[in-house]
Symmetry: C2
Subunit: 339 residues, 2 copies
């Protein structure tokens, strides 16, 4: 056990910050520390907050921090959203607001800056969740922008994914359909004091109903019905099926945020009761492992490429001139793994 | 040369559609075809159209198709945007509109459905651009959603990246700052008949000025100034620097779209004059190669993992229980590449 990993496990904020900086910068030293803390992770409850820029995710996160603290829970916040004030992306007013928690050792906020790092964002997010977990944070909130494939991967790292929409963004609901809907456990219609909030709720509800209708339904048992001599039973949602609730909030005023947290807690109870928590954790482990593997492999392959064929820039230059074949190069590097 | 590749090179739409379907589905057969067509690619001019959902990218694309056709250019459109009507993601009205080009053999529109495919989206996009290129399409328009890391990778595959914003989305402009700004060659303020269009233009302009101010400036030569005996010269933009123009459009009415295409053409002339076109093509080759390599490696590694340690689901299950160490597994697979 290294000294740094030891200090992270003791909950040391400076040690954790340093390790997360190493992760964000893609430094090799991080791997040994992450291996050392790994056996002691798996205790934090991970909540994802995702949605378009301007949906008010940071304000919501801020309110959820306060609620968790009231309930005696320690909190870690990981801002993967480039527009989040937590990651320094938004206007000054927001930045001042988040200072509310600055003096509270029970709140640990860090942002991930990784950009253009050859797909390293989801790997870095997975690793940073583990650091906060190892520190003993009971709740880890991960704030992401809800469009893009990496972001969907990241949403899958949470036990509970809250998808935030705002009124009057019909097109955004279309976008949600395309991927994030499948990973949403709770919907939040924020800025619900604006026009169109009820319409947004209705649109989400009909999307959910459509999805429900497309799922295979339990077969109606004619004999069973006759034995009961009653009217045909209404098809009730099955015990092991979760219907994502839709919660209206006005985060700026704090309205509805208690209800939102209750929905998250209810989902947690559902996961525990049905044993689906383990299934979520397997999905998370798979997503994190694939992200880690993908980046680790690429890094080794590029090193080998450089040794054998020159730097990436030179190789790319030959590809651009059609003097090298990228398909042959990728094949030859991948074949090392096939043996 | 296979029969399918041969037909793609002859511009056969059905052959190209089939190959793109193979690419989208991640079928192994695609690799041989892509290798066969690769030496004959590199001729198409690739234009990226990127921006938030609801920014009107598809309507703009539609108008640009018409302009290209008027100028006698053949067009391929690749919709990577899940909200695009071209990819079947949007409302019926839009879907009817795009039928304008249905009878025109000079327009070839295809969408990519790849989602949750372990980071395969950028690889698939790169491959599909090559197919349209090999078919002889002179212009290839790639429509993407402008948030997310994969989407920034995809934007870097274009010669010219048009970033579309709409008035009244201050937060979106914040989001653009975080990554896509660096790859924007032309800005389009669409729906410019709405309130706040001029404000959006001003905000973009000040962002660009800020970026310009942060760049190293040519050193002011005091002696040279005295020899000239004139007033200190205004620092002119250097010949090899491109200032992204900001074009206002109302795509639904067709306003400003000619100007937008002229900005794209002007950028093309700039790239050719300065020799920066080659640099762009090197960047594109690198981005496409890394995407290809990353996915090819992952697929080989997962096969090897399955052979040696069991299926991904089983391995993930052991990781979730802390009975397997993901860092050790990733390391051991990557070490095959280091030898």
């Amino acid at each position: 056990m290294t000294a740094l990993a030891e200090r992270v496990l003791e909950g040391d904020v400076r040690a954790a910050s340093r390790l997360m900086r190493w992760i964000d910068d893609g430094l090799e030293g991080a791997a040994a520390e992450l291996r050392a803390i790994f056996p002691r992770t798996g205790n934090a409850y991970v909540v994802g907050i995702t949605g378009s820029p301007g949906a008010g995710k940071s304000t919501l996160t801020d309110r959820l921090i306060t609620i968790c603290r009231k309930r005696g829970l320690t909190v870690g916040v990981l801002a993967v959203d480039p527009t989040s004030p937590f990651s320094g992306g938004a206007i000054l007013g927001d930045r001042i607001r988040m200072q509310d928690h600055a003096g509270d050792p029970g709140v640990f906020i860090r942002s991930l800056a990784t950009r253009g790092n050859l797909g390293g964002l989801s790997r870095a997010t997975g690793d940073c969740i583990r650091v906060m977990d190892a520190m003993g944070r009971q709740v880890v909130i991960v704030e992401t922008v809800g469009v893009g494939q990496d972001e969907i991967d990241i949403a899958q790292m949470a036990h509970c994914t809250v998808v935030v929409v705002v009124p009057g963004m019909g097109d955004d609901i279309q976008a949600i359909k395309a991927g994030i809907l499948e990973v949403a456990d709770v919907f939040c219609v924020n800025k619900a004091d604006q026009d169109g909030a009820d319409r947004a709720v209705r649109e989400l509800r009909s999307m959910l109903e459509l999805r429900h209708a497309l799922k295979p339904q339990p077969v109606y048992d004619h004999d069973e019905h006759h034995r009961m001599k009653g009217a045909p039973a209404k098809v009730e949602p099955r015990d092991d099926e979760w219907e994502p609730p839709i919660v209206k909030t006005v985060a700026a005023r704090g309205d509805g945020v208690e209800e939102l947290w209750e929905a998250v807690e209810k989902h947690r109870a559902f996961l525990e009761r049905t044993g689906l928590k383990k299934a979520k954790e397997r999905t998370r482990a798979a997503t994190q492992f694939v992200a880690l593997l993908r980046e680790r492999l690429l890094s080794s392959a590029l090193q080998r490429l450089e040794r054998e064929r020159g730097r990436l820039e030179e190789v790319a230059s030959r590809i651009a001139e059609r003097a090298a074949d990228p398909y042959e190069l990728a094949e030859s590097l991948a074949s090392q793994l096939a043996e």
